[in-house]
């Protein structure tokens, strides 16, 4: 783990909101950083960034899972785009990515490295976080234009995506 990542992890571990999220039994233990799920959301102008591959700003949230509160713990800046910095996300490690469009190759790499992907979502970040808490990210509300039905499922996102009413084949 490089210095930058150590700093991010320290920031996560020492964030008071994050501390509040954690079960008391973990406080002060070596599991402090790894206990909570880390959720990454690429953002631009308070909305989900349209494309994950080239996203330059990634907000890192701590959460206890889908349907739970999210607490902003850090913001990562990737001037070269997220695609060039996937290793950083694996190192943290990020458990889930909630993003807009994403290319197949990048999504496959994330999924292969154990990251759940909620892709092809759009909307203001605060609304999306609300959707996360209410477990409604799979609904129509956050689908990007052109996605005709809810399809954003972790680990098999977009497999059931429809284009112009035609059911997509798995690929």
């Amino acid at each position: 783990m490089n210095l930058e990542m150590r700093q991010v992890c320290r920031k996560i571990a020492t964030n008071p909101s994050y501390q509040a999220l954690r079960s008391p039994k973990y406080v002060g233990t070596k599991d402090a950083v790894s206990f909570c799920m880390k959720l990454a959301i690429p953002t631009t102008r308070q909305r989900i960034a349209p494309l994950f591959d080239s996203a330059t700003n990634i907000e890192l949230y701590a959460t206890e899972g889908y349907g739970c509160d999210c607490v902003l713990v850090s913001t990562l800046e990737f001037p070269e785009g997220a695609q060039q910095n996937l290793e950083t996300l694996y190192h943290i490690p990020v458990d889930t990515v909630v993003c807009g469009a994403i290319s197949n190759e990048v999504e496959r790499l994330l999924v292969y490295n154990g990251v759940e992907v909620f892709s092809f979502l759009c909307g203001p970040v605060q609304e999306v976080l609300k959707g996360w808490k209410e477990r409604s990210l799979h609904g129509y509300t956050f689908s990007m234009p052109g996605c005709l039905r809810p399809h954003h499922c972790p680990k098999r996102s977009r497999d059931n995506c429809c284009i112009r009413g035609e059911r997509r084949k798995n690929h």
Binding site: T44, R47, A49, P50, L51, D53, S54, A55, T56, G81, L86, E87, G100, A101, I102, S103, N104, E105, E107, R108, L109, Y112, S119, F120, C122, M144, P145, G146, C147, R158, C161, I163, R164, R168, K169, N170, H171
Partner: protein, 438 residues
């Protein structure tokens, strides 16, 4: 021109066109734009343009934002969009400001063209002509980063890496970036030519040098003059040839067979091997002085299994290439194929990947490569690997640790046995069992 005529024209062109208002909301979306993005006009109108267009330019290099800020039109800015299938579509984008009759800005217009086919043809050309190395891996990127610097120097370069990992492609890259790029690139595989012929191949011969030498023949050193000579499998050279090569590298001169005249060479030498030269030196199979002479700059290409990002990237490159070559419309891999690709060890590296995909494209009868299109040995090897039992794992670990300790003790079995806390005869037995070369 009335509005109806303008709209008819915009609907008939093959370039995608959309217009936005000052709030970045789409106000017009033509049918070519529907086709390229996969989004219907009714779904796009009224929405934020970046969420419809989904381009790598939207966030930091938006052409319309640039146009709005500088009042300068952008012409043919290149980038890509990601369509709803998750595929990248390369596009060339132009933008301009829209004004009303009073000269007030009412929005902007963006036109874009799908240039995937053109880019694809260009990449095919580049791939074949210059042997450009392409990578998505961070480790490889670091190596490629120093290639231009290495290319500019005149030093001898040693490229190491497993078979099929792209050593010759790397050598071609160095040549194409060097000052000798206009000279020839001559490659010779030292292991493929018998020792008796290698000398005449490398240095050439004069008429009458031996029976059948009825004319002068230039050697590879002569052919590579003012260019690059690539000596592949340098570790396979015989001791005699090693001495001769050492002299050429030191003196930059050689004598063709049957000649008394010394010739000078200005060829840049690049050597490659998949063998561990240091070990060959220790075993006395490779001359130490030659090793130091060629080991000026060493570039080590990591095997494909250690740069998983490249597997997917290269697989797509090869899929595109062989689809064009075989006149087929195979454009994707099934999830199972990707899982197998990422977990397979690729002992033959990129060459193996290329061959596997060529075979798959030839056999594939749909637009998707599935497991049934891959060689059965590949799936079998993967299955065998994935169901390793505890004993097998122990054997692998034991073999690895014995090899490491032997290397540490310079292949002194007694010292290694002491370090491994086992009897010398036990270690000999295990060395034999695991077929470790000492």
């Amino acid at each position: 021109m009335d509005i109806l005529t303008s709209e008819t024209i915009l609907e008939s062109i093959s370039d995608g066109v959309f217009t936005i208002d000052n709030e970045w909301r789409i106000t017009y979306f033509n049918s070519a734009a529907e086709k390229i993005t996969g989004i219907l006009r009714d779904q796009a109108i009224g929405l934020s343009c970046c969420e419809v267009f989904k381009s790598n330019m939207c966030e930091s290099h938006c052409p319309l934002r640039h146009t709005f800020t500088t009042k300068e039109n952008v012409r043919e800015q290149r980038g890509y969009i990601v369509n709803l299938m998750g595929q990248r579509v390369k596009v060339s984008v132009s933008s301009a400001i829209l004004y009303d009759s009073q000269g007030n800005r009412i929005g902007g217009v963006e036109t874009f063209r799908d240039i995937s086919a053109i880019e694809h043809l260009r990449s095919l050309g580049a791939f074949k002509r210059e042997g450009t190395m392409v990578t998505k891996s961070e480790t490889m990127r670091k190596i490629l980063h120093i290639v231009p610097t290495v290319a500019r120097s005149a030093s001898t370069v040693l490229i190491t890496g497993e078979s099929g990992s792209g050593k010759e492609v790397m050598a071609r890259s160095i040549h194409s970036l060097s000052e000798q790029k206009n000279g020839p690139f001559i490659a010779i595989n030292c292991a493929a030519i018998p020792d008796s012929l290698l000398e005449s191949e490398l240095f050439g011969y004069n008429k009458g040098a031996f029976t059948g030498a009825d004319r002068d023949k230039p050697g590879r050193f002569s052919l590579a003059d003012k260019g690059t000579l690539f000596l592949d499998e340098i570790g396979e050279l015989s001791p005699m040839m090693q001495v001769k090569l050492l002299r050429v590298l030191q003196e930059r001169s050689y004598e063709p067979l049957g000649s008394v005249e010394t010739k000078k060479t200005s060829a840049r030498i690049i050597c490659a091997t998949n063998a561990d030269l240091e070990r060959l030196v220790r075993l006395g199979k490779f001359r130490q002085d030659l090793y130091y002479r060629i080991n000026v700059i060493t570039l080590t290409i990591p095997p494909l299994r250690e740069r998983k990002e490249d597997i997917i990237f290269l697989a797509h490159q090869f899929l595109d290439r062989f689809s064009v070559v075989n006149n087929k419309r195979v454009d994707r891999f099934s999830n199972d194929v990707f899982k197998l690709f990422l977990s397979y060890s690729w002992p033959g590296n990129i060459r193996e990947l290329e061959n596997v995909i060529e075979r798959a494209v030839v056999l594939c009868d749909s637009d998707e490569v599935t497991l049934s299109d891959l060689p059965s040995a590949m799936s079998r090897s993967h299955e065998e690997h994935s169901v390793l039992n505890v004993n097998k794992m122990k054997e692998i670990a034991e073999k690895e640790s014995i090899r490491t300790v032997l290397e540490k003790h310079d292949y002194n079995v007694s010292a290694a046995a002491k370090d491994l806390d086992m009897h010398r005869s036990t270690l000999y037995r295990k060395i034999e069992k695991y077929k470790i070369e000492i």
